[in-house]
Symmetry: C2
Subunit: 215 residues, 2 copies
DNA sequence: TTAATAGTGTCTCTAAGACATTATTTT
DNA sequence: AAAATAATGTCTTAGAGACACTATTAA
């Protein structure tokens, strides 16, 4: 295949190009705390979001998946782009653009090597390098937005589940209590009762739902 | 300044890197048509969105502004990132990432060289190369979202203006008629009457507003 | 039986939508 | 005066929020 030449006879690689990295905020609901946490990996002198440089011919999403397989043992995610951070002085190693990503994962699917990574509650994250705090803010806002109007869009809950379980998940994501009546009215049209009921719980057994829409 | 070396003794530029481009959908309301238009520039064999390669050490937003100064004679914009297009086979010239941007500009500030560029109604845009149709769709959706809840956020209208002028602008952006009562109730809290009235118009003179919030 | 929780009914208040009425201008 | 448009009032309906009541389980 012939190399493209522009009007000055130069190929694309004759011009300066930045390195391109991906950094990802992997969010999960921490079971005991009932709150959103973010996956951080250890560096020489602190913590940062997992990230990697884009390899030749690689898709951004694939670079994200590759970085997460190694650092957190998770696969099968579907990362979403948030923003490109492009401040030339952002990274002291050189000219590096970073494409920030977000995804959410069920806690049970995170298999973390404690010596390499940990999950920190988003309200307790310290100052991170490379503007990673800003990525976390964007990521949390983005996830909260998605969870406002529809039931568990990131599939953090394994169906079937009860409305209460769903609401507790949404409250953990939102970081605040939600109103029961409004929550039910908003979510129920997008749920299907499977005709069975929760067992072994105190109180009247709750109907079990799947995420399938009613229509 | 010493060059950074990784654990293999290589610098960042020893690894393959993509070229990074910016492509921008510049949207404006076409006066006669009362509809959204997008700025297209001529290429050898058709039309495309204005774009350019990122120069060394340059910010993405500055690359956008540089490309638009030349092609459309507009300056002072504030482009917003939409998405990074990263399909390695997207551009037949090589490995090129494109960061799509959007901005809106008052029609009166577009000074177009007819031999280089034109503005086409977004409903009449033909098939474009490099996935540029998708950028236009994202751009229009993004602008419509911004205009749903607040009065002329992109400052397409020069204050002072009447509620009718504002509604006509919003209808051009939305691409559909809006309900007068709802529109007024939504927008009026974020407008300040300047105490003067439109003159030379048929009917009862309308109050003039500025975009300043009432609080 | 009591405590806990689910499911359902319903009251009030507000906002959206729709429409009518009045005010004030140009033609 | 007639036509046009702005400004305002108000009626109806739907939904949000709040709360009460009933149903059904475990302890």
């Amino acid at each position: 295949m012939p190399v493209y030449r522009d009007s000055s006879g130069r190929s694309l690689t004759d011009y300066p190009r930045p390195s391109v990295a991906v950094d990802t905020a992997v969010l999960a609901v921490i079971p005991d705390k009932e709150t959103l946490g973010v996956l951080l990996v250890r560096t020489g002198d602190g913590w940062r979001l997992p990230g990697t440089f884009l390899h030749e011919g690689e898709r951004l999403a694939d670079a994200v998946l590759r970085s997460l397989r190694v650092k957190a043992g998770v696969s099968g995610l579907a990362p979403t782009q948030l923003h490109v951070f492009d401040d030339p002085s952002r990274d002291d190693r050189g000219w590096v653009l970073s494409v920030a990503h977000v995804d959410a994962v069920p806690w049970s699917r995170l298999t973390i090597d404690e010596s390499l990574a940990r999950v920190t509650s988003v309200t307790e994250v310290r100052e991170l390098p490379y503007g990673h705090n800003q990525i976390i803010d964007l990521a949390v806002g983005s996830l909260r937005e998605r969870y406002r109007a529809s039931p568990d869009p990131a599939h953090l809950l394994e169906p079937p589940f009860t409305l209460r379980q769903l609401q507790q998940l949404h409250e953990a994501v939102a970081g605040e209590p939600l109103m029961r009546d409004t929550f039910r009215r908003t979510m129920e049209p997008e749920l299907s009762p499977i005709g069975e009921f929760a067992i072994g719980t105190v109180g009247k057994p709750a109907r079990l739902f799947t995420r399938e829409p009613t229509r």
